[in-house]
């Protein structure tokens, strides 16, 4: 009806009310608090911080609450707020070697300085529902092997840490008190260990160590440098990067990666104000860093060496960091003179399509009215069909004459 385009303003106001109602759900159920989301949905908050490009756990939790748990909508809220924040400058580079480690695993060495730290992970949980979580818990509930089984007494004090078999510690650190104690102050990163031997592709900052590009302030041009690619991926959609990383593993851009190391923990952020001239500690951020070691390259001039794929993201976000490091290595294809036939190797493809806020906006804009354009198509198709019928009719009329 013609009226469908009228009353836009009233409709918009009404939909805002309906959203508020849907968000609250059944009022008989207690309202969730931002603090609850921050503390109990921390992995979702981490994803919102990553894709929203803003490290703020409270705001991430608020965004999730406001968006009914829609992660992309929450990231959108974060970004729209972030864009209005004043910029005071850039922090000093973070030193992830000095990370206060919560978790650190390497797939390339059985043991290494600082040791392996299993830390919190879903990796060895069995994905069986813990129906006890249906009810509020008195103490933190263990994951995985605990359900319905007698719990190992020695681990009772640290139930959030999955137990390892003390009889065969293998490469795992002993659990318990030591697990909670500070680990080695610095743990060398695996690529640094390989680098000391000259086996890892050296990573030098560009000449003059310029401030990294910021794609939220300046338009990107192609080919894109690595700082741009890494920034784009760090804020890119986890699912998109996961799919791309997986495609690389399956042969769409063959690299042969090993997880040199994944580490999760807290790193201090320091800032040097112009007027002070020395670094001020701004606090800690939780980060996940992944370094993939990839099959070696070499040429006449350069002896064979491993190449690096890098991922660094906010919060505990291993899947994202690993996917990012796979795609980072794939995007280096051009630098190593490799073919760039597959999507994960093409910077323009990856960078333009990794941004889920942009992608969601453009996909969803198809909901907006397009009747002007559609009318143009209707007019065209009707006319072409009409003209075709007329032509066919003429040809048919002409035929008997031609036969005579």
């Amino acid at each position: 009806m013609y009226v469908a385009v009228k009353g836009g303003e009233a409709a918009i106001l009404a939909t805002h009310d309906l959203v508020a109602e849907a968000r609250r759900g059944d009022p008989a159920v207690p309202e969730i608090s931002v603090a609850q989301i921050r503390e109990q949905q921390a992995l979702a908050c981490a994803r919102v911080m990553n894709e929203g490009s803003l490290y703020d756990q409270d705001l991430a939790a608020l965004a999730l609450k406001q968006s009914q748990g829609d992660v992309i909508e929450a990231a959108f809220l974060m970004r729209a707020y972030r864009t209005t924040l004043p910029r005071f400058g850039s922090s000093e580079p973070l030193d992830t070697a000095a990370m206060a480690i919560r978790r650190r695993v390497s797939a390339t060495y059985k043991d290494l300085p600082g040791g392996q730290v299993l830390g919190p992970t879903y990796d060895y949980t069995h994905r069986l529902f813990d129906f006890a979580l249906m009810e509020p818990q008195q103490a933190p509930s263990p994951l995985g092997w605990g359900e319905g089984m007698p719990r190992d007494a020695q681990n009772a004090g640290s139930p959030s840490v999955p137990s390892s078999d003390p009889a065969s510690p293998g490469h795992l650190l002993p659990q318990g008190e030591k697990e909670r104690a500070p680990l080695d102050a610095t743990m060398p990163r695996v690529p640094d260990i390989l680098g000391a031997e000259g086996l890892m592709e050296a990573e030098e900052p560009p000449e003059g160590d310029p401030r990294p590009f910021d794609l939220t302030r300046d338009p990107v041009s192609f080919p894109a440098d690595r700082d741009v690619r890494l920034q784009s991926m760090a804020r890119g959609d986890e699912g998109f990067l996961l799919g791309l990383g997986y495609s690389v593993q399956r042969g769409f851009g063959g690299t042969h990666p090993f997880v040199g190391e994944v580490r999760v923990g807290e790193v201090a952020v320091e800032f040097v104000p112009e007027e002070l001239g020395f670094a001020v500690d701004l606090g800690d951020v939780t980060l996940t860093e992944c370094q993939m070691v990839n099959q070696f390259q070499g040429s006449k001039d350069v002896p064979p060496q491993f190449t690096r794929g890098y991922g660094l993201v906010f919060g505990h976000s291993e899947r994202k960091a690993m996917s990012m490091s796979l795609v980072d290595r794939a995007l280096k294809a051009r630098d190593f003179g490799e073919a760039t036939n597959y999507p994960a190797q093409q910077d323009e493809f990856v960078l333009y399509h990794a941004d889920n806020v942009e992608a969601a906006g453009f996909v969803e804009h198809l909901k907006l009215p397009h009747y002007v354009d559609f009318q143009g198509e209707l007019e065209l198709i009707r006319r072409i069909r009409r003209e075709r019928e007329e032509r066919l009719a003429q040809e048919q009329n002409a035929m008997p004459e031609a036969a005579e």
């Binding site: 009806m1 013609y2 009226v3 385009v5 009228k6 009353g7 836009g8 303003e9 409709a11 918009i12 703020d56 409270d58 705001l59 959108f76 970004r79 729209a80 972030r82 864009t83 209005t84 004043p86 939220t216 302030r217 300046d218 338009p219 990107v220 041009s221 192609f222 080919p223 323009e348 333009y352 806020v357 942009e358 969601a360 906006g361 453009f362 996909v363 969803e364 804009h365 907006l368 009215p369 397009h370 009747y371 002007v372 354009d373 009318q375 143009g376 198509e377 209707l378 007019e379 065209l380 072409i384 003209e387």
Partner: protein
């Protein structure tokens, strides 16, 4: 408890006039000046993340925010109409953030932000059209890589576009592009006019108004200064032609406007009405009556002008 409170200064959140910060406005303004100096060339700009969704007009919004001032009167249309939901939403945005004076009358507006239409009423010198652009690159459908299309523009290599249009003719007997129909600007750059129907293309040519184009998601700004040559691409033996209808607007009887088709029952009933809602209302107020106006007014769908 949190550090995210807006500055204590009470009721109004601390957003700048017209939402964007001054540094961002300067960046957009610089891009706009280069855009008018090279008509039809797409200037990359540091498109900001906006509180409205990408693809919903953030390019146009950023341009409007960078140019609007207290002396302006803003009109916002989507599909030619002032009252479609997204037009309402964008108009509200500027009423909230810039205390903008808004209007529906085309000739009262100093800035007209639009999606998909150019108003039927002729534009005037001093007016600024701001187009929301989803895909600024006219060659994108032919060549997806930005690195390649940029070279094609740099060297004015538009053969691929000619081939594509000619393939249409070979297959259908005419060029089948009905909207976002590519144009040649000032004899140099092929430009996407945004998804306006090709019916509106001739209005761009030598328009007395300044025309600015913003693509927020794709981060491009381009422009047509007033009195600039804008030629729709065609061939000598297949000249450019615009849409036409066999019947006039059902409400105001206009025979020269772009029409929307409205399905009025499930028996195949159709009604054609002006897509430019203000144009249609103005004509009805002047006493023009379409054949369906009585029915539409009787069922309360439109207000019939007092005679």
């Amino acid at each position: 408890m949190t550090i995210h409170q807006m500055p204590a200064d009470d009721t109004k959140p601390a957003y700048n006039y017209a939402y964007l910060d001054e540094q961002t406005k300067r960046m957009i303004r610089r891009a706009l000046l280069k855009a008018v100096a090279v008509p039809g060339y797409q200037v990359p700009f540091g498109s900001r993340e906006m509180p409205l969704a990408r693809g919903w007009g953030t390019g146009g919004i950023q341009i409007t925010a960078a140019i609007i001032g207290p002396a302006d009167t803003l009109k916002v249309i989507d599909q030619g109409a002032d009252d479609t939901t997204n037009a309402v939403s964008i108009r509200k945005f500027f009423e909230r953030t810039a205390d903008a004076r808004t209007c529906e009358a085309t000739d009262e507006a100093t800035i007209i932000q639009t999606r998909h239409r150019i108003p039927e009423a002729p534009l005037k010198s001093g007016q600024v059209m701001v187009y929301q652009v989803p895909m600024p690159e006219p060659l994108r459908r032919l060549e997806p890589r930005e690195a390649e299309t940029r070279k094609m523009h740099a060297w004015a290599e538009y053969g691929l576009m000619q081939v594509k249009l000619y393939e249409d003719i070979a297959r259908y007997g005419e060029i089948t592009k009905t909207y976002d129909y590519p144009v040649m600007v000032n004899g140099r750059y092929v430009m996407a006019p945004s998804p306006i129907p090709k019916f509106d293309n001739p209005k761009m040519h030598m328009s007395p108004a300044l025309q600015l184009f913003g693509a927020g998601r794709e981060k491009r700004i381009y422009a047509l200064p007033p009195h600039t040559s804008v030629r729709s691409l065609d061939f000598e033996d297949h000249p450019f032609r615009i849409q036409s209808w066999t019947q006039p607007c059902g409400l105001c009887g206009a025979g020269d406007s772009y029409l929307d088709e409205v399905v009025i029952d499930d028996q195949g009933g159709r009604m054609f009405v002006c897509s430019d809602s203000h144009y249609c209302e103005t004509r009805r107020a002047e006493g023009h009556r379409g054949t369906m106006l009585g029915d539409a007014a009787a069922s309360g769908l439109v207000e019939e002008a007092a005679q």
